[in-house]
Assembly symmetry: C2
Homo-oligomer: 238 residues x 2
DNA sequence: CGCTAGGTTGAATACGCTCAAAGATCGTGG
DNA sequence: CCACGATCTTTGAGCGTATTCAACCTAGCG
């Protein structure tokens, strides 16, 4: 089942009609191959997509080539809502792995919000949660060192993936290269490599064949000052 | 006049009824003294406020005292929308200067969106713009050095303040201490001080008695790789 | 006048970067 | 089947940006 719907229903306790409406909203499923750009900086984009399967990421590149990855989109996340609301997209969304999405037009979104105002609230809640995650990214970059950044980032991914059944108690598939981690956390590739070694040697985390295993969640949370409050919130009851 | 309404009307071309409704929505104006916390991390908050006058900032503190400031709120910005949608606020909003706000309850917001669905779009657009600014903050922290961070931050403030008539062509009142700048840009106070000196000596920027003057906007934009696209966007025409 | 908050500067240190080179892994084509 | 290129990972060495610690200066205020 569509993980976005599941997430929204869980967080907001939608009525049966609202759930049905949402289900009826989504169009045909579409495959997007890894590497394809879904939203392109500077272009207009007028479509909202449920990300059903796969990972994508949002990024921007400076004129001299330095790249910053802002966030990762995993199953259950929405793609393109922000870009649809603005004249031009101001960042790029790219499929990291092969993805499956289900899209609908901005017009149909407006209809949906008119028919069921609580769906508009659901959308705003989803956007609010995204902003919480982005704020925590700012905290990582501004006030955490390399070890803390990576530890915190991994714990955030673990929790987010667990909420959509894509991670077990302490491990998950991690489709990231060290270069992507570097561009996410504002570090150099070399330093990411060394820091991962440190975490491994301390017995905290291991990456084995594309799978991240967290050996000691308690200790890693301690190291990272990880407080999952920002990820575990439901919406306010209206 | 309420700068938030002005901003929304300019960006979205609201109808006369919508404008009236918005105007009628706002309650009595209220003063908030500098230093007072408006939204507190971990508490519930169920109120939306137009920030009419003054500056506020959104921040979070790590257990060991390290503080990160995520963003500044200036006249025309909304306070508390995100916190209102979630169970608990996950960051703190504090008045930096004396502020004037006009608040209304979450319930009245819902009514407004039901009465005029385009107002919901206006809110989402406002939130989207906030997220653009936050993304650029991530870019500053992750992939820019101290000189670039400060230069870029000042140019962003200049542009944002100009849009609400709080800055002239190249200067504005800057109510920030070097400590606040440090906590915003992920630097130490000492390094902010030295970097400001560098910018001054290069003839780019000067802070004189609480007023920031940018001597050479072109050159500063060049130094910062500043592209104002993310600040100058109107909403998509529905 | 003395306290406090903010700004400025020097010296030593450290964290993370750059440059460079060498392994590992994998798909592809000769 | 192996050689080759491409991509990713790993490690060493030297360097540079930003930090920490410490001291001093300045202005505002009770």
């Amino acid at each position: 089942m569509n993980p976005t719907l599941k997430k929204l229903e869980a967080a907001l306790a939608l009525s049966v009609e609202e759930q049905d409406y949402l289900r009826h909203l989504q169009g045909a499923r579409r495959r997007i191959p890894a590497g394809q750009q879904i939203v392109v900086e500077g272009e207009t984009y007028r479509q909202i997509s449920f990300l059903i399967d796969g990972w994508a990421f949002r990024s921007k590149v400076l004129p001299d080539g330095r790249r910053q990855i802002f966030s990762y989109l995993i199953p259950g996340d929405l793609i393109g809502l922000r870009a649809s609301l603005m004249e031009f997209a101001d960042d790029t969304v790219e499929a990291l792995t092969n993805c499956v999405v289900s899209s609908f037009s901005l017009e149909r979104l407006y209809e949906a919000c008119r028919a069921h105002p609580r769906l508009a609230v659901a959308l705003m809640w989803s956007a609010a949660r995204e902003q919480s995650i982005l704020s925590e990214q700012v905290m990582r970059l501004g006030r955490r060192n390399a070890v803390e950044r990576i530890a915190h980032f991994f714990l955030e991914l673990l929790r987010r993936l667990q909420l959509v059944d894509e991670a077990d108690r302490r491990s998950f598939e991690l489709p990231l290269t060290q270069e992507l981690i570097a561009d996410t956390l504002g570090l150099s590739i070399v330093h990411v490599n060394r820091t991962l070694r440190t975490l491994r040697q301390r017995g905290l985390v291991m990456i084995d064949d594309g799978r991240l295993v967290i050996h000691d969640i308690e200790k890693l949370s301690e190291v990272a000052s990880f407080d999952p409050l920002y990820l575990d919130q439901d919406a306010a009851r209206a």
